[in-house]
Every structure is written in structure tokens, then in C-alpha cells.
């Protein structure tokens, strides 16, 4: 059974009662919330994800709740809880669904130490993974959405899960998070994209999510081998260009982008070295010409 098989009433019953248990790549999450926006977000963005039964193990039990207190009448808020504990300050209620997404990112980046978790988008073509590690504002998610629109499989928009052998990257297919102008950019480039409600005035500006393709979700247990490490950089008006990047520099960027590299010690070093060894490494700059950018990556895939 997938989330789309649940009626709106049943989805609400689970979210407000025992919890909705879903599988996302290697992770099983139990989610509770009484927010309509969370229900709508899950119904749209997680429609193709498997629903687990109450007896299945849940790696993470999370909820997005309405905190008690007088603010619930004047300026309603949403509070993320993990295993019943709150670790973030509440956000305005309108941000309930993005808060769930950010909370799930936090759960994985702080607990899934069977992997090296890297802040990167990951896509796949012909079995080979393209890693795009980058800080916020680099155009990573815009590029990721454009590549998905043109047939690249989405492994993750935000978190690369690298096995400790360094030889496989495990999918974690969830919504692609867009910010500010990239929302319109992607909507124009990918008219069929299922883009959820735009949530304004978050700490990151306006945010909206794009539903992951059904194929990417169904292939959520199909890992990819390293193919390319590309550091993307968006520069308004820049021409699309790509240059070779030294493997040592690419390696250090992965180390800097990893949430839990330090935890793994030498094993983490060896894993990322394996990954870089097996990858072609490049720096990539683009100025918004998404067709040109995607064409460049398509040529990579064909040449491999």
C-alpha cells in the first residue's frame, strides 16, 4: 500500500492517532500531526511512498504539533518533536510542512551513522551517481530539479547517504526543496512538476517543495555507484562552464559537507577516498540557462 491509497479521512486518522508510518529509502518514519498543511503536504509529496503497518519498526517517531500556551490563539505555531522531545524553537504554523521536512533532515543527519551523510543532491543515470555537494544558495536544488525533469533519477535533493565502503550511494527520495526565485524558475522549466504550496517568510525566504517522481520513489532500494562529484555554483548571468577539479579538493569539499565524517574516523576517510577515486570531479558554474546545464550533464552520462 502507498500513501495515495489512503483516503483523506484515513490519512487524517493515522496522522492524528497512531501515526502514519512510511518508508523513505532505507528509513522508516512514523509521523503525527493535526496540521492540515502537513496532511496536504504528505498526500502530495509522499503519494508514492510505501505505507508501513503499525507492527513495522520505525527508525524515527516524529510529530509536528501545536504547542500549548496563549500563542495558539494569537499567532499559532508548529513544534517539531522527535521521540517526544522538542529540539527546535517553534515556527509559525504556516511553516508546518517545511518544518517536518527540516526535522526529517535533522533526524537522518544526526542519527544515520551507518552512512556518511553528506549535504548534497544526488542523481543517477545508467547506474552512476552524480553528487552535487554545495552550500545553500549555490543553485543545487534548482539544478537537481532540472535534471530530474529531464529524466535523471532522484536519489536525494539534500542528503547523500554514502555506504562505508564508499562504493554505493543509497537513495533517500523525498521532495525537492526550492527557495525564492528558483520556485518560478523550476515551474517554467518543468511545467508538469507537482509543486506544493509556497510558504513565505521562512528563515530561508519563500520555500516550496517538488514531488519526487514515482519512479525515483519505487526504486528507493536501488543504490548507485559513484560517477561524478560536481561542485555547482549559481552566478546570476554567468555563462555555463565546467572545469576539472582536483580530486584532493573534491575530497575536502565532501569532508566539509559531511554531517558525520568525524564520527567515522579513518573509516570515513577511506570511504570518501574510495568515492572520489571512482568519480570524475568538476566545478560547474551556471547562470540560469538550465537547458544548457542539463545538456552538459547528459553528455557526461553518455560519455561514461
Amino acid at each position: 500500500m502507498i500513501v495515495a491509497d489512503l483516503s483523506a479521512g484515513e490519512l487524517r486518522r493515522r496522522l492524528t492517532g497512531p501515526g502514519l508510518r512510511i518508508r523513505v529509502g532505507p528509513v522508516a518514519a512514523e509521523i503525527r500531526s493535526s496540521f492540515d498543511a502537513v496532511q496536504a503536504g504528505l498526500a502530495l509529496h509522499y503519494a508514492a511512498h510505501d505505507v508501513l503497518t503499525a507492527g513495522d519498526f520505525a527508525d524515527f517517531r516524529v510529530s509536528v504539533e501545536r504547542p500549548l500556551g496563549v500563542r495558539r490563539w494569537f499567532a499559532p505555531q508548529a513544534l517539531f518533536r522527535f521521540d517526544g522531545n522538542s529540539m527546535f524553537t517553534p515556527l509559525p504554523a504556516a511553516q508546518a510542512f517545511p518544518l517536518l521536512e527540516w526535522g526529517l533532515n535533522w533526524c537522518v543527519s544526526t542519527h544515520c551513522h551507518q552512512y556518511i551523510v553528506i549535504h548534497a543532491a544526488v542523481l543517477e543515470r545508467n547506474g552512476r551517481a552524480l553528487l552535487l555537494p554545495a552550500p545553500p544558495g549555490s543553485g543545487k536544488s534548482t539544478l537537481c530539479a532540472a535534471l530530474v525533469a529531464r529524466g535523471w533519477r532522484l536519489l536525494s535533493d539534500e542528503l547523500a547517504l554514502v555506504e562505508l565502503t564508499g562504493r554505493r550511494i543509497v537513495p533517500f527520495p523525498r521532495p525537492i526543496s526550492l527557495k525564492n526565485r528558483s520556485i518560478d524558475t523550476v515551474a517554467r522549466f518543468w511545467p508538469d512538476a507537482a509543486i506544493g504550496a509556497v510558504v513565505p517568510d521562512t528563515l530561508k525566504g519563500s520555500v516550496a517543495h517538488v514531488r519526487p517522481p514515482v519512479d525515483s520513489v519505487r526504486r528507493g532500494d536501488e543504490a548507485a555507484t559513484p560517477g561524478w562529484v560536481v561542485l555547482p555554483r549559481y552566478e546570476s548571468g554567468a555563462t555555463t562552464r565546467i572545469s576539472e577539479l582536483s580530486k584532493a579538493e573534491a575530497f575536502m569539499r565532501l569532508v566539509e559537507s559531511a554531517f558525520n565524517y568525524d564520527i567515522h574516523g579513518r573509516a570515513g576517510f577511506e570511504a570518501l577516498a574510495e568515492l572520489v577515486d571512482a568519480s570524475a570531479c568538476h566545478a560547474f558554474t551556471y547562470g540560469g540557462a538550465l537547458d544548457e546545464a542539463v545538456g552538459m550533464f547528459d553528455r557526461f552520462a553518455q560519455a561514461a
Binding site: 584532493a248 575536502m252 569532508v255 576517510f269 577516498a273 572520489v276
Partner: protein, 98 residues
């Protein structure tokens, strides 16, 4: 300190390294830190790892000069000395007591 000190890796078994072209990345178990060494630092560290019990500084300079096809002059000796000091600070290299 001797005029031609002997240098060795701080803890040879504690170092994992990977070399791509002329650059070396090094993980140091002693500190838990990872370092990206430039061309000269890589050459010095690679040579030290080949001599876990130690190599004289002049021999180290000569070996690096031979590998690079350059003259082992005073400038190179000074640059190697600075690289050794940096590696020592990172606890990747240490001078062997005379």
C-alpha cells in the same frame, strides 16, 4: 638540535593517506583531523612515510629535488624546513631526538 636532524612520521600507523596527481590528503588518527597537503607538503609527507624510522633532513631535501628534477639549493631547503615545521605542528611529523 643537530644541524642535520632526523625526521620521521609522528605516528606512521596512525596516518591514512591518498594521493591524486601531486596532492595528498591525509587522515591523522592522533588528532582525528584530515589535511589537504600542497605539492611540497605532499612530497615531504610521502617521503617521511617511506622512512618510518627516520630520514636526515638533507637526504629528504636531496630526494625531493631528485624526484622533481630540480637543484637542491638553499631555497628548496628552506621551503622543506617550513613544510616540516607545519607537518610537525599538525602532529604528522616529528624530529627524532639525537
Amino acid at each position: 638540535m643537530s644541524r642535520d636532524p632526523l625526521w620521521r612520521p609522528f605516528a606512521p600507523d596512525a596516518v591514512a593517506s591518498r594521493s591524486w596527481n601531486d596532492e595528498l590528503v591525509v587522515y591523522n588518527d592522533v588528532t582525528g583531523s584530515t589535511h589537504h597537503l600542497g605539492v611540497l607538503g605532499s612530497a615531504v609527507m610521502t617521503t617521511l612515510l617511506l622512512h618510518p624510522t627516520g630520514i636526515a633532513q638533507t637526504a629528504l631535501v636531496r630526494g625531493i629535488a631528485d624526484d622533481a628534477g630540480v637543484v637542491a639549493d638553499g631555497d628548496l631547503a628552506a621551503a622543506v624546513e617550513r613544510a616540516l615545521a607545519d607537518l610537525s605542528e599538525l602532529r604528522l611529523a616529528t624530529a627524532v631526538p639525537a
